[in-house]
């Protein structure tokens, strides 16, 4: 007499409820997994962008310093700056191996200056000295003043046949502000 009722409430309805619960669990699990994957992906993307931004910021910071140094350099009067630097360099070298024999400010821009709208001036100077000492002096000068563009370098044996020193003649274009 109660057989149908027992089957309905004892078996069919619990099975239907169990299937519904399993289905709902699967649906929510899938949804959570997809959402987690999307959020992980967004997080990784954001983290990558943040690291990139930090790197650019560090690079800009370094470039800002270099740019400030460069602006300071090209903002100064080239002729007196070269003179000051050469005096300082000469003090660190043996006097017999490095002597400045002439220094001239050219009236016009050098060959490089003539092809660029950037302001520049020509400098011409001569030295007498040994190869290595003058090489050290040029290296130091060009390190201190990277705005100098070498246009000509001539090296001849000293006019004095008994001297082992060499004569150096140099022309630079100096980029200015």
């Amino acid at each position: 007499m109660y057989k149908q009722t027992i089957i309905l409430f004892g078996i069919v309805i619990p099975v239907i409820i169990a299937i519904a619960v399993i289905g709902a669990s699967g649906y929510f699990r899938n949804k959570i997994t997809t959402s987690f994957a999307t959020k992980t992906q967004h997080y990784a993307g954001n983290e990558k962008s943040r690291m990139g931004a930090l790197e650019i910021e560090a690079q800009l910071s370094r470039q800002r310093e270099a740019s400030a140094g460069w602006q300071n350099l090209v903002g100064q009067e080239t002729f007196s700056l070269v003179t000051t630097n050469l005096r300082g360099i000469a003090e660190s070298l043996p006097p017999k191996e490095f002597q400045q024999t002439s220094f001239e400010r050219l009236g016009q821009a050098g060959a490089f200056g003539s092809v660029s709208a950037q302001k520049s001036s020509g400098l011409k100077f001569s030295f007498r000295g040994t190869y290595r000492s003058v090489q050290r002096a040029f290296l130091e000068l060009e390190t201190r003043m990277p705005n100098l563009q070498l246009e000509e370098l001539r090296i001849d044996p000293s006019a004095n046949a008994e001297s082992s020193l060499l004569d150096f003649h140099v022309v630079y274009s100096a980029w200015e502000n």
């Binding site: 092809v115 090489q135 000509e152 370098l153 001539r154």
Partner: protein, 142 residues
């Protein structure tokens, strides 16, 4: 100067009498950037044993190898011959030294040019095209 010092090491059988280096823009008006040409002209005297060295240097491979070494040692990328916006050419001429005098080995003085049987003239030309990274911008810096 480092390039020249390494090109002609001490006691290599070569005596340099004149050195001239120039860098000039390669005039091509109307372009955003201008290329340039560097030239080294070196002349002097050479002993028999150093002729082979000059001959080895007198080829694109020989001078490129030397410039590559300079770029590596000094960190100055202007010497790097690899970019295809640059060309590097060398021309070495040797001839008999008219004032050469044969003398015993013990009497030879390195600075005496009459002890060298040959004289040489070496020209290296390095051209940077307007598309090279080192080309000169025509416009003023911002």
């Amino acid at each position: 100067m480092e390039a020249t010092a390494r090109l002609f090491p001490a006691k290599s059988g070569l005596l340099i009498k004149a050195f001239n280096h120039t860098a000039k823009p390669d005039s091509a008006p109307g372009q955003a950037k201008t290329g340039f040409i560097k030239e080294w002209v070196i002349s002097g005297f050479v002993r028999d044993e150093a002729l082979e060295y000059l001959n080895a240097l007198n080829s694109r491979e020989g001078i490129s190898s030397h410039f590559s070494e300079i770029a590596k040692v000094t960190g100055n990328l202007a010497y790097d011959p690899a970019p295809n916006t640059r060309t590097l050419v060398i021309n070495v001429k040797t001839q008999e030294n008219p004032v050469f005098r044969q003398m015993p080995m013990e009497d030879i003085i390195d600075s005496d040019e009459s002890t060298y049987p040959f004289s040489f003239n070496l020209v290296i030309t390095q051209r940077f095209e307007a598309t090279d990274t080192l080309a000169i911008p025509a416009s003023k810096a911002p």
